[in-house]
Symmetry: C2
Amino acid sequence: MKSEHQNTSTPKELKQRLSAAGIQASAPRMAIAQYVWNTCSHPTAEEVKTEVEKTFPTVSLATVYNTLNLFVEKGLLKEVKEPGSPGTRYDCNTKPHFHFVDESSGEIMDLDPRVLRVVPDMSLLGKNFQITDIEVTLRGRKI
Amino acid sequence: MKSEHQNTSTPKELKQRLSAAGIQASAPRMAIAQYVWNTCSHPTAEEVKTEVEKTFPTVSLATVYNTLNLFVEKGLLKEVKEPGSPGTRYDCNTKPHFHFVDESSGEIMDLDPRVLRVVPDMSLLGKNFQITDIEVTLRGRKI
DNA sequence: AATAGGTTTAGAATGATTCTAATCTAAATC
DNA sequence: GATTTAGATTAGAATCATTCTAAACCTATT
């Protein structure tokens, strides 16, 4: 069961979302946002550059990294790193959800949060742990 | 609540464990195994090298990487990658357990599996997912 | 002790990411 | 609307993590 993404497509919506996060809009940022917020493929920086170049041919890799880092810092994007495969991937889905990684293809899929119930035992965990985020990755094979 | 590690310390035990995994023993491998299997600090390759150099000064970084990769491949060690911090870390604990990452220090701690109950809803997940591994990371602050 | 197979090594090479310093752009001021 | 200014973008250099290469080294076997 896959979960859905927000589809923020019009320039106006993009600009609003950037400015709501305290980010000033610009052509490269719009192009990058437009792509990363509408893909569920968890792309690498290199993949983002290749895609964005199609509509914005002069974009530089430095700008891609700057922008992705900025988006992560502002909570508009999440970093994902998979043991066994190199580099960082970017997840447009900042709502709580889980990942399934297909061990044969390496593909990362978002799972609906309802497929898994995670129940912390606070008495065991202790009062001195403040949890701000839970990340769950299932690994296996899709058949 | 922290979980405990196996403490495989004598040369004899180390050699047995390596050979049980189909790995032929050697001085650098013993030194590396001795260190990584007795630390709960989730060290990087660089940290392993620094530590191992104390007892085995000629060890090269290439050998550290070769050996850690070999151990991972043979299931004697697990890779851990944290979003926001660079490089790969190595976890000697191959039994099911969870991680807590302190967001202020970046420290990764092992948690006892009992602090969290993870309940997959197989009807929602669907029969076409074969799960071989579940990885859970809690992020937050220790106070 | 000669051989063969795997192991280690230093350093080069690669890949991912960040840094630098110059240039460009857009917002703010006159 | 021209000027200033702060911030954004760029190409390429620099850095960091990791892997590759090819020679030297061990260790088990003949």
